[in-house]
Symmetry: C2
Subunit: 350 residues, 2 copies
């Protein structure tokens, strides 16, 4: 019975949103929205929503399998990657076990571990908020059943090297799983990108998760997926709800995958605007983390920046809820005009 | 760790669907589809799906609270009622506990109990597949932490009386919850309907669940809700994922609630067509359960009826997966012309 753990549980704090008149730069959404074809698919489905989806989700799985050059049985689906973490945590944790993550990262791992009644071990970061391979491996102990962290990291945008992934995989027992949360991998520049998927062939305890919420601009429909060994997916299929993915999520996901032109044009724009934004923030005098590869920037600024911007109807993410000292913020790279409005507002404040 | 239970777990068998050219009478969907205004809302949201929903879902909760004359804190939301059951089972069960349900009913309760590693006790039905109050109370034992069954029942359509609910509530300990699954309550004729909600005020372990999948014709968007005490909802809020309901589900749900004219016209038609369908099936020579109050009929017919209809591109639900003897079927009341096509096809077969 989980009731015992639950009463003392901290709440998840989501990004403040403001109403619809606000510029939202707090949740790393892709403010350009989904492609016209995805929008059309959703419209066309609007009168078919009386039907249950196909509970096997075979077509969507096949498409994701082809995209990632794996088999259909290597794909698991979730109502957002949140649900994938939820199920995997239930499968692998008990009250005598722990998860190992890094400090000051995406808070939901910690919350989920607490729901399962497990302990949370947080490896210290390296220099400049980097993900330290050594600190992760040094933090391992026999109670660890799940290693999990994002790359690019949320909120710093730090990325991990392939050697480090292999070192961790070689350091953990076979019944401990390693979940690499790649929610932001689309935003990593080509010259720094390496493909994590082929490691799944050699390590059946390795799981990579990806989401339609960020790059594909579909946070509101809730769709995430994981790539893993058949050993893991077989158990996952036993625990997941038969209709965990909505009809609209399933069809929008199938369509988005093929909209390369639309999404790569937007990607180019976001990465260009991000560079510009980082420069301007530096010129204003804020500390800006350079080695940061999401669709967001990580800065140190005066503590009241978030409140002052909120007054001007712009929301950014204050990182106090991620356990950072006051003054650290994560800012989504929005549309070009939104970024310009942000800079203009900051100039008025400082 | 749940892995131990999972390996031996049975799979959930969902209704066979056939492709889009089939007449679907297997999953109790409302084949008339959602109201024009709900369709419009979904269309209008199609380009806003890049946004995360408001994780508090306050507006939807307020609307559901008003509808049911309870407080916002008496409402819990799920990605389908499946998710509500999932969370409640995790909260209240462990490997030493049991759920108590009735035999030959909705199979997902049993599957979820098995996922949690708990035992399943099934009370025998009464005469004519009815829900037997006495048998339920006689089946209680100290290991029971959850009592759960549907009314109207799936697949028989049997309903339970208010006195029986109270008897059960007075027979169980305060830390055992009683979930009444009212997925089909909209279809109960006025003269037989009684409101279960006010019992929540006196019993903080009583939970009523309802869904947008049947009456509101929104199975594909995944939205269910529960009405319960603040004691339960407070814990539920700790365990549920922050964005478990999609933006589209949340907005479509808010709209559907107010579309009384559209949905009551359809209800009249479905109930009229159901009566006609029952008569015709009886005339054909099938046994038809009379005391049955869902948007479906429960019949005994030749064993090969399902296969023969499938050849004619009509799917109905064979109840072998619900543990019935061969020859029992559940048939959704579809659109008028679909029901006519069904009767025509049956006439060709028998």
């Amino acid at each position: 019975m989980f009731l015992k753990n639950l009463e003392y549980l901290e709440d998840y704090v989501s990004g403040t949103k403001g109403d619809d008149t606000f510029i939202r730069l707090s949740s790393n959404e892709n403010n350009y929205g989904p492609s016209p074809k995805v929008i059309e698919v959703i419209k066309n489905l609007s009168n078919l929503t009386y039907k249950y989806p196909d509970s096997s989700y075979s077509e969507l799985k096949n498409i994701l399998a082809n995209l990632n050059e794996v088999d259909k049985n290597n794909i698991i689906l979730g109502n957002g990657t949140d649900e994938i973490f939820f199920y995997l945590f239930l499968m692998y944790l008990n009250t005598n076990s722990s998860i190992l993550t890094i400090e000051k990262t995406f808070t939901y791992y910690r919350i989920l571990a607490n729901i399962a009644g497990a302990k949370v071990i947080e490896a210290k970061r390296g220099e400049n908020f980097s993900i330290s391979c050594k600190n992760i491996i040094d933090s391992l102990n026999p109670s660890v059943r799940i290693v999990i962290f994002p790359s690019p990291d949320n909120p710093t945008g730090a990325i991990i090297k392939r050697e480090c992934i292999e070192k961790i995989l070689n350091s953990i027992p076979k019944d401990t799983i390693f979940i690499l949360d790649e929610a932001y991998f689309h935003f990593v520049p080509k010259e720094l990108y390496w493909n994590s998927i082929d490691l799944i062939k050699n390590y059946d305890n390795f799981i990579v998760t990806r989401t339609f919420s960020k790059f594909y601009a579909l946070a509101g429909i809730r769709l995430g997926y994981g790539i893993c060994s058949e050993k893991v997916s077989k158990l996952y299929e036993k625990i997941r709800m038969p209709f965990n993915i909505s009809l609209i999520a399933s069809e929008a996901g199938k369509t988005a995958i093929f909209e390369n032109e639309y999404y790569s044009n937007i990607l180019v724009r976001i990465l260009k605007d991000k560079k510009l934004l980082m420069e301007k923030l530096k010129n204003i005098g804020f500390e800006v983390l350079e080695e940061s590869y999401g669709n967001f920037v990580f800065i140190k600024a005066p503590e009241n920046l978030g409140n002052k911007l909120f007054e001007r109807k712009i929301v950014i993410r204050d990182l106090k809820s991620f356990n950072y000292e006051p003054g650290y913020f994560r800012i989504t790279v929005g549309k070009t005009e939104e970024n310009e409005a942000l800079i203009k507002a900051i100039m008025e404040i400082v």
